[in-house]
Amino acid sequence: MNRSLWLPPNGSLHGVMLDRLLVWNLAALSAMLVLAHLLLIWAVVRKARPANIAPGSTKTGRSSLLPSFASSELIPTFLCCLLFAAMAVTSERLWAALRFEGPQPEAMQVEVVGQQFQWYFRYPGADARFGLTRPRLVNAAAGNPLGLDQNDPAAHDDIVSSVLLLPAGREVDLRLRALDVIHGFFLPGMRLKQNAVPGLELHVHFTPVTTGTYPILCTQVCGSGHGRMQAVLRVVPTEQFAAWIAARERKLERPE
């Protein structure tokens, strides 16, 4: 069903609900689109048949010129109100479930940092704490694209990656930042989008469930390289993820 709607395959827990909402909304509104156009076409192509009222009659009956107010205006508007209300309620319930509450305490922490024109992903390491970063220390050429301050012990085991690797089935709490301009963090396969705004730390949480590779795009125009600011999310089994983290930690302890 998704394929016919052009949607990319969904790999997230909440995406199932979101797709269902999108599909019935599109179906209902498409039906209205067709219905309205059938009425429009019918009104235009059918033969005119003005009522024949005797000349000189003062009772031309304006009501007969026009459909009744109730049938043409009140009832359809009321039905639309009902439909829009149903859409609003179901949709806001989903939105509330997605965003009104924070992630579970055991959710995995990953920081996403956007900068022209690259996404970086930082894992806090064994201490589960992100180390301090300082703008002045940012130096991508020297291997410190986020400006990690090594004077902070919490920064020692922070892993910085250009690929977002996540274990399937575990909730993840993304912390979004941007170094320079606003970037749009878009994971079509996870039905997730959130801007990364300089000066703010924004959180968004979701659960990837299906293993695979998913594109990450930038959806807020951010400069000349906006269109190529793309990265990849790889959702892997838990063991594979643990092995990857362990390998990256070993590399941090013994560089080169």
Binding site: L21, W95, L98, V181, R191, V197, P215, T219, R228
Partner: protein, 588 residues
């Protein structure tokens, strides 16, 4: 005052509202021509990024973004704000309310020249070092605040900001002139509830201009201060651009710009489309020879759309980092605005369908075709509104081609169709001649088909997740590259759509000199811009309106007309309508 039926020569510095109206329309014609050419270059670049084009050569990605920015700015400000509101209102508003002119003719003329002077300032951005700005028409900071953030963000961005600041002042003055004219210059008997719905829509749109453009002007000046006066309204501390940590004082918030900009930006949509709604109601009444049913309700929905339009701006910001609770609040106000919009559509459909056993004879003139096209596009573009109003769904669709499809159908195309309807309808007032119906019909059908073929498929690109503002599809993401055939089709359709507009240009130029001479009141309309010469010559203080604007179907419907197509030689057995100045009981 010159004879209204005769052609008014465009005396350039005239303070006559009708000349100014024509000047506004010429300004938007220039802007729409440039904006359309820019969009064609964009469309070609998107599907063939390494193709060398005449004049511009091979475009780098930043040039594509500069085209996007300038296309949006030209179309939204210089076309969709200028033509439906300033252009048409100056052309006919004073006559429609029985006034002899604008309340402040010189201020009104100054408003036009200020607005017009903003256009060369904007276009100059193409000529300066670094080129035009690349941050889109929304110009989110810090990209728009920092010259080092990209090509075009230096002098080009300054010119953009100055141009729009000038535009704000011009629009603001023009709106004040319209407001005062509507409120104080109506002739006796022209009560508020007897005004044509076009006047109501210009009234509400002018209020929106006064409110929204004030806020935009403030935001533009704040951004200029951030760029040149060392303030930090929109730039946070700790910026690192191109690997360089910026030493700036202050700690501002980019989200402040988003709030200010969209507080302007959403009402702007209604500024562009409300006049089209009013015109559509008027044209449907005129060409079905029926009054507008539930006129008070149509007034109410116009006012409601204006009021609600001021409190929905947050639906542009669901993924911006705004509080999720605020997202829900803005989702509900946005859903609410769909209700008066739907009520308007039902009203139009009711007019077309007619009462029981009484189907109206629809006169398929070119303005009527464009009004019908407006309704169709308004429905199609409008129905994706309730989807994008939902934060949950917007968190997938935001800034994809789905949004591009939505606003091009409902604002750009519906807005343009209302402009075409107005030009075909009121052309006799400018030139004293009719435009060619034959060319007009060709123009309509090609434009209608082109508009759908161009913008409807964009929904699918959006559902597939393709973001806006991408200069090309080929890259690391294969799912985007797979959309190339779809985008190629859209580019082909866009060329048909743009090409069809040459028919309009030919019609305009040809009819200006060779069109059929317009009879008095060629559309047999009941509103006062079509009033007889003797009424137009009546001193303002002796004019009087006796009835509402849609006095159609006054006599026996069976005797309306013999000929409904050759309206120019319309033979009316007996006039089936009453002009607004006709007294209820003719003296014996």
């Amino acid at each position: 005052m010159s004879e209204p039926r005769q052609s008014i020569a465009l005396r350039w510095f005239s303070t006559h509202h009708r000349a100014i109206g024509a000047q506004y329309l010429l300004l938007s014609l220039a802007a729409v021509a440039i904006g359309t050419l820019l969009s064609l270059v964009m469309r070609i670049h998107l599907i063939a990024p390494y193709q060398s084009l005449p004049i511009v050569g091979v475009l780098p990605p930043e040039a594509y973004l500069a085209l996007v920015t300038m296309h949006g700015t030209l179309m939204i400000f210089f076309v969709l704000t200028v033509a439906p509101l300033s252009g048409f209102a100056n052309l006919v508003l004073p006559e429609q309310i029985g006034a002899s002119g604008m309340a402040f003719p010189r201020l009104n003329a100054a408003a036009f020249w200020i607005t017009a002077s903003a256009l060369p300032v904007l276009l100059a951005a193409f000529a300066v070092r670094g080129g035009a700005p690349i941050s889109g028409w929304t110009s989110y900071p810090p990209l728009s605040a920092l010259a080092s953030a990209g090509p075009g963000q230096a002098l080009g961005m300054d010119l953009w900001l100055v141009s729009l600041a000038i535009f704000c002042i011009g629009s603001w003055l023009g709106a004040v002139s319209l407001l005062v004219t509507i409120l104080y210059e109506r002739c006796p008997g022209m009560r508020l509830m007897r005004m044509p719905l076009t006047v109501w829509s210009w009234l509400v749109a002018s209020v929106l201009v006064v409110i929204a453009f004030s806020v935009l002007l403030a935001a533009l000046l704040m951004l200029l201060c951030d760029r040149h006066a060392g303030t930090s309204f929109f730039v946070p501390a700790g910026e690192v651009v191109n690997g360089v940590a910026l030493a700036r004082a202050g700690d501002g918030s980019p989200l402040l710009w988003l709030h200010l900009f969209w507080f302007f930006g959403h009402p702007e949509v209604y500024i562009a489309v409300l006049p089209g709604m009013g015109l559509t109601s008027s044209l449907l009444a005129n060409f079905t020879r029926r009054p507008v049913p539930g006129y008070p309700l149509m007034v109410l929905t116009t006012v409601m759309i204006g009021l609600l339009g001021l409190i929905v701006w947050g639906h542009h910001m669901f993924v911006s980092g705004m509080n999720p609770y605020a997202g829900t609040a803005f989702a509900l106000t946005t859903m609410a605005i769909a209700v008066p919009s739907a009520a308007k559509v039902f009203n139009w459909l009711g007019m077309l369908l007619g009462g029981k056993g009484n189907r109206p004879r629809i006169q398929m003139t070119t303005p009527m075709l464009f009004a019908l096209g407006f309704i169709s596009l308004f429905i199609t573009g409008g129905l994706t509104g309730p989807i994008l109003a939902q934060p949950a769904l917007d968190s997938y669709l935001h800034n994809t081609y789905f949004v591009v499809a939505h606003f091009h159908l409902i604002m750009a195309m519906a807005g343009t169709f209302s402009i075409f309807a107005g030009v075909y309808y009121w052309f006799p007032l400018i030139s004293g001649r009719m435009m060619s119906e034959r060319l007009g019909r060709w123009h309509f059908w090609l434009t209608f088909a082109g508009a759908y073929a161009t913008f409807f498929p964009m929904h699918f690109a959006g559902l597939a997740g393709e973001p806006r503002h991408y200069a090309q599809l080929t890259g690391t993401t294969s799912s985007l590259a797979a959309l190339l055939p779809l985008q190629q089709g859209i580019t082909a359709a866009a060329m048909v759509l743009a090409g069809a507009q040459t028919l309009f240009l030919v019609n305009l130029v040809w009819s200006m000199r060779h069109g059929m001479a317009a009879p008095e009141n060629p559309w047999q309309a009941a509103t006062l811009e079509w009033a007889s010469a003797s009424w137009q010559a009546t001193p303002a203080e002796r004019r009087r309106a006796f009835r509402g604007p849609y006095g159609y179907g006054q006599n026996e419907p069976g005797m309306i007309t013999k000929d409904t197509i050759g309206y120019g030689r319309l033979e009316v057995a007996q006039a089936d309508f009453k002009m607004q100045y006709e007294a209820p009981h003719e003296p014996e």
